[in-house]
Amino acid sequence: MAKLLLLCLKFIVLCSTVESVFEDQVGKFDWRQQYVGKVRFAHFDTHVQSSKKVLLATEKNVFASLNTRTGELFWRHVDMTGPEGNIDALLLHGQDAVVVVGNGRQLRSWDINVGGLNWEMVLDSGSFQASCLVGQQDVVKHVAVLKKTALSLHYLSNGHQKWIENLPESEAVDYQAVYSGGNGEVYALGVVPHSHIAIVAYSLEDGEIIKQTSVEAPWLSDIQGSCAVIGRGMLTCVDSPAVSLYTLDLHGQSEMTQIPLQSLGLEVALGFQPVLVSTQPNPARPPLSEFFLQLGPEHHLLLQLNNDQIVTLRDFKPALLVSFATSGEKTVAAVMSPKNKTACSLNLFSAETGRRLLDTTLIFNMDPFGGKPETLYVQAFLKKDDSVGYRVMVQTEDHTLTFIQQPGRVMWTREEALSDVVTMEMVDLPLTGTQAELEGEFGKKAAIQDGLFSMLLKRLSSQLILLQAWIAHLWKMFYDARKPRSQVKNDVTIENLSRDEFNLQKMMVMVTASGKLFGIDSKTGSILWKHYLENIPSNAAFKLMVQRTTAHFPHPPQCTLLIKDKDTGLASLHVFNPIFGKKSHVNPPALPQPILQSLMLPVMDQDYAKVLLLVDDQYKVSAFPSTKNVLQQLQEIASSIFFYLVDSSQGRLSGYRLRTDLSTELIWEIVLPTEVQKILSVKGKRPNEHVHSQGRVMGDRSVLYKYLNPNLLAVVTESTDLHQERSFVGMLLIDGVTGRIIHEAVQRKTKGPVHVVHSENWVVYEYWSTKSRRNEFSVIELYEGMELYNSTVFSSLDRPHAPQVLQQSYIFPSSISTMEATLTEKGITSRHLLIGLPSGGILSLPKMFLDPRRPEIVSEQSREENLIPYAPELLIRTEWFINYNQTVSRVRGIHTAPSGLESTCLVVAYGLDIYQTRVYPSKQFDVLKDDYDYMLISSVLFALFFATMISKRLAEVKLLNRAWR
């Protein structure tokens, strides 16, 4: 009892000292965007007429409900990553959504109104094949799940299993589909490739096998890909080599009927596998007898099966996408056909007759920088006059979801590619037009060309422009001040983008796995430009580099994206303007050879673009841009350009030096035998990092100098032997120029995954301790000692003494997803580590707690130095979460960028969600608070001023009087 009360007291005390974000600051400096990923299944909620829900199951293992009016999330369930959380099927019935998860491991039912779980059943093991809803006499009560060896039936109301039956001859027959037409029977359809089809009919009541037939079909290998059940139980398959359709009545026929497509007057496009699309609007009734047959990439046909005869209702050519939709008793077919280069038109046709419905044209404008439409989801509804109206959701190749209403109004778009950001950069915004004008005036070229008088005129005119801009700004401020704060909106568009006073607003250039690039305003999170790159290999690795910042007006800023196929090593370059997203007119060189390494040099060409060096597999170096000027500069400094290559498959690290003819020579080599350990990652320091202080002041006022080697590499290895007694994680610190091993440490009885941050003179890494079964942090700090070897310049070639290495480890109470360090303009502000936790929190852990000089026994000197006494456990304090309740799902990376304010660091966390905020590791020492009392300070100043004036006057009078006396 006493302890409980004490705990309560402690809790109250702790709560009262929380100091992260004030309630009114929520959303002021930060924003979050939630995504779901590429859609795999989508169903519109149809059980209520005016419903505005669409249910999505995605490839990111997310099950979500979207508002069709706004595109916002109603709710979202994020399942485990990988195959365990994979959503195999989504069936919607009424207000229940049944989901099969994890290769048939779990069957779940969700209430779609609130997103609550109705029930969950763990199914027997066996790989999932298919599932369907089963109804009888217009009532749907069951769901059938077909697995490799068994078919089971579950109640929709509570998930309980009604029956489970083994499939006959399941070793030989590959059961792929399950079908029910509402007549009290469930059919399992299997195939023995290139031999026959096996059909097993089960009784719905008790699971008894009613009938079992096998039908010769030597041409068939895959039911799901080439067959569909149409009409009253007619299994219809398409065979492309024979150019025919085959039909089979599931209820009694024992032989397939062949209908050659030629007899219908149809032809298949060369090399195209025809596809059948049927629709079953109500699971308690058989599917419609109308179906689509796709004969070519842009050729669809609406066919009808009528008394074993196939009739062509309508031929759609060209037609990109087709889809059925049902509202009430009416089923319609939506067909998307290309109109011109930038637009597609959608039309609605009656499914029964193939006639076009009046006033149903909808125009879909394609983004010129987007992908082609890929899937069509149609929401049909009955209007008051009983005609059919519709809205469509189009998914394009670049994972964009667009929701369109008639006659082509885009209600919303969602950029689901952003759920898979691979890499990003933050680029400074350009100057405003007036600032640019001034810059232009003082440009070197202008000064040489013009005379004295014209320069004066120019100066006067630019001053005038500045004055004008200032007055306009004042006027706007005055105008805005009268309006209530909520109405003042600064809409950011690409035209009015400009750098703010403290460079807090930047352009976030994000590269996604699908190959779509985004430019996002860091202040509001609005997407300012997007650009889809076609023909990106699925296993591509990306590296984004800023070649020219916005600082070199009038040259536009320039970013280069290196896209490399991981298998072949072949790479290509995409050069673009990071502010507008436009492809640059600069032509990148073609790269015929696989690329091993790329490095950005601080050398600039005459147009202020930094030089990018690319090393191919022949160890030849090519430069981009490769003008004469650049090549000349490279020749001059070639002997001081070193680079390293890592071949983790052979455990080889090697160093090379550039020669003047742009060939290379091997200068050092380290080999870590792969039998013992494998290289997990190699981390250098960030090139834009500044370190303000060269050393640390000790308790006795002496200085301990930091070992600040910019060429230092942290190589993390893990043992090949994963036995928990012999496994280890190795940390090698290697000088990237000389190949000298500065430090080599092993952490025994530990294993990966290892997260590393390498900065200044320290390396922090996190690993799993197999011995103690916990996550641990370790920090290594390097010091030169009390004396600096060469204080003026650092050269890797001239540092004969090895640095002092200090190391300490700590227990961390959670596993982590990713880790990054804060970065500020000048490096004065103390550093924090930003840790993305699997729980969705982003923890800002002061580096002070990860300091190998934390003393075990407190002494006078350590107190003088402000060292925290050593405690083996690092605590997670709730006020360290920078994203308060804004959970960021599945954080994969954190990007930090300095702002113009020394105290402020911009942070972007990305994963399934994107979260942007600012952090102040040393509090806002260079900013006045929001609630700073300007009135008080100015009135005090004025009062003091007047007081001095008056007292001066009085003193003068007094002096004068004394002089008269």
Binding site: L672, R740, H743, A745, E856, P872
Partner: protein, 250 residues
Amino acid sequence: MAGPLPCKITVVSTVLFALCTTFVGCNNGRRVGDGMDTEFGGFSVPLEHSFEVDDVAQFRVRGALMLKAGREPGVSLAPSHLSEEDRAKLKEVAAVDGLYRIRVPRVLLQADRQTERQLEGYLTAFVRACAMVESHLSDVISLHTDVSGYLVGVSIVTLPGACRGTEVEDEVDLEVFNTTLSIVAPVNAPGPETAFFLERMEQESEKKGKNPQEQKSFFAKYWYLILGGAIFLMVSNSAQPPAGGGREQS
């Protein structure tokens, strides 16, 4: 003149200290049960060097590294000389800022048989040739091994390491290598120090335990707060009935 000298000594001593610690570390680091019963003698591998004016490596034997495998691996190098011709060449290479490279074959120090020791490939390292010349051929070579005794890297530095462009007049200075050799095994990184921390915590709690003030029970410590709270509750309770009554009347 007296100033810099002590500093140098401290630097040297720190280096020595660092080396000593690594040696201590490697003792602990050796895996137990590796079958160290048999006592081997040393074995030798060639240490090769190359310095060419055109920087195309042509390795020649500089000496034989005598490696002593076992629990405490050791290494020694027979003192070697540079021939007249080589000295001239080294000076020439130094003049064009060429490199002085060394290489050793990859070996496994812990293996019993000669055949198992040798692995394919070499480990290479370099210094600037001018540094080699200006330091009068005094270099520090360390051989780095991994946990199971494979040689993974070699590093070479000269003392002093800088190239100041000072001319080495005396040919005798470039005759004999003055080499410091060492084998460095990986250090065992420390884990979280829980035992010591717990001990300290216990000591502190013991200290507190001795203090009679702390031994009081919860009620004994906070009786006045509880009493105050109780009185407050009583007062507020007694104040309520009239208010409720008032409401009833209206």
